[in-house]
């Protein structure tokens, strides 16, 4: 393993950026997954139950994205500036989708009219599916490379981002979140809502495995150099191994052992493994330039000053544990099954 990952501020911040990416996928990931299956059941009771399961926590979960964006801005401003301006329309699609999701939660149940609810349900679904897919597409493009020059100016259009491998990675992300969301719902619900979540978990699992295989196949065929890091630093194999273990246990606990409360640990492993695999494959590059290797944005040429990195590291070490502490407290408060009835059952 490259020692500078732990001995330099730039390396540590690369890991921290990965932690925020994983943090977002682990927390908001199950919200997105639960939202993505929303339209596939016509049952109002199930829909409401699912929304109630997400209700108290999605807002805090979304903050992982906001905080992650802020962290990226502070630690690697060039990466932040280039990725957001290069992915201009894609970024705004994510944003509009997240706005739709936020207000759907708030407004869907404000009126007892089927038409009102029908439209908010659609808005809610789009608000979950679009960020889920684009999460994968964005990561895919960063790793596969985009046409940026020495000043970080993007020479392409929205359609430059729609490479097959990147789109496959979008679906990997979507099904990964469905797996995770279904795992969460199996813990939080019972009865027919539980049965539907179980079905969704199987669909998510199958979809994930298929698209993961397709993506790997595509990358091996077209961009084999992306696997170089794993041969250079054998310890990096930890990440794909976590992912594979996650896949194994997801199948084992869901299908073989029927230990439904445990499935979420497996989906968490899948997420941690998948995200880290991509991050480590790309190390030390954040965004690859398809124009010239030397325009790659790396942890060295796009980072903030030593002082800023140090101050942010100290703040993160102080505040992140506190955040995780009260987040766990909130999940404890809302432990237990939910129903479709106002707020929480029993």
């Amino acid at each position: 393993m490259p020692i500078e990952l732990f001995t330099t501020l730039n390396g540590i911040w690369f890991l921290l950026a990965g932690i925020f990416l994983v943090g977002y996928a682990l927390t908001d990931g199950f919200d997105l997954g639960a939202g993505a299956i929303h339209l596939f059941t016509k049952d109002e009771e199930i829909r409401k139950t699912y929304m109630n399961a997400i209700g108290p926590v999605w807002d805090g979960n979304e903050v992982w994205l906001i905080a992650g964006g802020g962290m990226l801005f502070a630690a690697f401003p060039v990466v932040y500036a280039v990725s957001f301006s290069a992915f201009y329309l894609a970024m705004f699609l994510v944003l509009w989708a997240l706005i739709l999701r936020a207000v759907s939660f708030e407004y869907r149940n404000k009126k007892d009219s089927p038409t009102w609810k029908k439209w908010w349900d659609r808005a809610y679904w789009i608000g979950n599916v679009v960020p889920a897919i684009l999460y994968g597409v964005a990561v895919g493009n960063a790793v596969l490379g985009i046409p940026i020059d020495q000043k970080g100016v993007f020479h392409g259009t929205f359609f430059t981002l729609l490479k097959p491998a990147a789109i496959f990675m979008g679906f990997v992300a979507l099904f990964m979140f469905v797996m995770h969301g279904a795992a969460y719902l199996m813990i939080k619900t019972e009865g027919k809502a539980f049965d539907f979540a179980k079905k969704a978990a199987i669909v998510g699992f199958v979809g994930y495995v298929i698209f993961l295989a397709l993506t790997d196949f595509f990358i091996i065929a077209t961009e084999p150099k992306l696997f170089m890091n794993f041969f250079k630093y054998p310890l990096f194999w930890i990440a794909p191994l976590i992912m594979l273990a996650g896949i194994f246990f997801y199948f084992k606990w869901l299908i073989v052992d029927e230990k439904y409360n445990k499935v979420i640990y497996a989906s968490s492993m899948v997420i941690i493994g998948s995200v880290l695999t991509i991050a480590l494959a790309s190390y030390p590059v954040f965004i690859r330039s398809t124009i010239d290797e030397k325009y790659n944005l790396t942890i060295w040429n796009s980072a903030s000053s030593h002082l800023t990195l140090l101050i942010m590291l100290i703040s993160t070490l102080i505040f992140l544990p506190i955040v995780i502490g009260y987040t766990i407290y909130v999940y404890r408060v809302f432990k237990g099954k939910v129903s479709a009835e106002g707020g929480y059952g029993h």
Binding site: F73, P77, Y80, F84, V103, E106, S304, V333
Partner: protein, 515 residues
């Protein structure tokens, strides 16, 4: 239109829209926390009813605020990427700290606050209310620190990198605690407190006028009035200090605030006026002699510089820095020690940056009538709020507050005014900062992303559509929630028996009615 103009419109419009909701969130969070606290202390159930009712309105407002706030963070990257590259080393940190210390706190405890009633003890519920309020206030602190750094940058140095010249942090505390962050924070948060105070007073007055939930509304009005009375009076002092700091650090902005083209000694404060920017003329009504000099510099004889003279001054400074460049380049060649070279290099970069950024012309200025009018209207509204609360306090003392219909109607109709004042203040300070994005260092035009104008036009159009729909739905759900009133039965209002687990509906869940 070019990408720059479109990007400025988009940022202005989305920030304007976001700032409709933020002040109410800021202030109402504290009011609700205070109501919960009073309930814990006094055991008076009406305080809890008030808190739970306003919590529902708070939640509606909060949702739009969060959703539209996300836009702001995205736009620094999407539309102002050059700006983000140049100052990200300094500007990114407060945004990251906002997420880390404020948003997590606010959003996580919001979950307990909205859904936790009955699941957690009243103490924890009250504690959550305070955490939500503190989270909102911390977020205001960080974002205003970032904004103040744009207005009065400190604690940085300029360095040359392969990607261009960048501002790099040298002193974190100086950058954070720059000349204007403290007062900007106090002034803005107080604006939020006033907004929430008027909101609570107006809604309570509405119930009193409709003779619904009378005891509930009386208490709401009283709490709102006392709260606003303090906030509105203190704001006069904050406003004065803020104006004084603008005079010291941003004289060009002050000249635009006051519509002064020519430098005046013993400058008058002009209350109303028409400004002709093309002719460099302003026709003013009601001039109070020397007051502007007194307010700005606390000295009646202090000269207040006019726009025309300031532009000339900036151009002279730019020429001076431009003339320094060849001298410094020569010196750099002759420099012997590396320390000396380093020092001259730093001066050279500064000279290059200043020669460009200070070279502004009259045409670069924003609309002066806009800055003048928005600033003056905000100040008048601020004084109007003071008058209203003073009248209210007097009526409270005489015991006629709850029965004077005219005054109650005034309160109802005043609900939108603080919202307006917030926006006016925001427009005047941000437009008044032009033509710079970082004062006297970076021109706004140099901060824009190299994104095609069509893309910006598309996003601006979609934002306009989404935000218009959002606003209509917001007003609709807000008024519906207010019209529905609190979840307390009308007849049992006085000495209502306390139920073990009071039935309530949360903002997110079903709206089952209490019959």
């Amino acid at each position: 239109m070019d990408a720059l103009t479109l990007a400025r419109w988009q940022f202005g419009a989305t920030a304007f829209f976001h700032f409709i909701y933020v002040p109410l969130t800021l202030g109402l969070g504290w009011l609700i926390a205070i109501m919960k606290y009073k309930y814990l202390k006094t055991g008076n159930k009406t305080y809890d009813d008030l808190a739970m009712f306003f919590m529902k309105l708070f939640a509606i407002n909060f949702a739009v605020g969060v959703a539209t706030g996300l836009t702001m963070e995205f736009e620094f990257g999407t539309n102002w990427s050059e700006y983000s590259k140049l100052v990200g080393d300094i500007f990114g940190a407060p945004l990251a700290l906002e997420g880390l210390t404020a948003f997590f706190l606010e959003s996580t405890f919001m979950g307990i606050f909205l859904f936790g009633k009955g699941r957690v003890s009243e103490k924890v519920h009250t504690f959550s209310a305070f955490m939500v309020a503190i989270g909102g206030t911390l977020s205001a602190l960080w974002i205003l620190i970032a904004n103040s750094w744009q207005q009065t940058p400190e604690g940085y140095k300029l360095v040359e990198t392969p990607q261009g010249i960048k501002a790099v942090l040298t002193d974190f505390l100086a950058a954070v605690w720059n000349h204007t962050s403290a007062i900007r924070f106090l002034h803005t948060v107080d604006g939020g407190l006033i907004t929430a105070g008027f909101f609570v007073m107006g809604v309570s007055a509405f119930f009193l006028l409709k003779r619904r939930h009378v005891n509930f509304a009386k208490l709401g009005l009283k709490v709102g009035l006392i709260f606003t009375a303090i906030a509105a009076t203190v704001q006069v002092i904050f406003g004065d200090i803020h104006g004084w700091l603008v005079a010291e650090h941003q004289p060009l902005k002050l000249a635009m605030f006051e519509g002064k083209f020519k430098t005046e000694k013993c400058a008058s404060l002009d209350l109303f006026g028409i400004i002709d920017q093309e002719k460099h003329e302003s026709k003013m009504l009601l001039k109070i002699p020397c007051l502007l000099s007194i307010l700005s510099y606390h000295d009646p004889n202090a000269p207040v510089k006019g726009v025309d003279d300031l532009i000339k001054e900036y151009q002279q400074k730019a020429k001076y820095y431009a003339s320094l460049i060849p001298v410094l380049e020569q010196k750099l060649k002759e420099a012997k020690t590396p320390e000396e070279m380093e020092k001259i290099k730093e001066q050279l970069i500064m000279a290059k940056v200043k020669a460009h950024s200070l070279n502004i012309s009259y045409e670069d200025l924003p609309s002066i009538p806009l800055v003048f009018t928005t600033f003056h209207l905000m100040v008048y509204l601020g004084f109007f709020f003071v008058v209203v609360v003073l009248v209210g306090l007097w009526k409270l003392k005489r015991g006629t507050l709850y029965s004077s219909k005219g005054f109650l109607w005034l309160l109802v109709l005043s609900i939108p005014l603080p919202f307006l004042a917030n926006e006016l203040g925001w427009i005047s300070t941000e437009v008044g900062r032009q033509p710079w994005i970082v004062y006297e260092i970076l021109k706004t035009a140099d901060g824009v992303s190299p994104v095609p104008a069509t893309n910006v036009a598309i996003s601006l159009t979609v934002f306009t559509i989404i935000y218009t729909i959002l606003f209509i739905i917001y007003i609709y759900t807000m008024t519906r929630a207010i019209a529905k009133g609190p979840n307390i039965p009308e007849e049992k209002e006085i000495n209502a028996p306390t139920e073990p687990n009071p039935s309530f509906t949360t903002a997110f869940s079903s709206n089952r009615e209490v019959k």
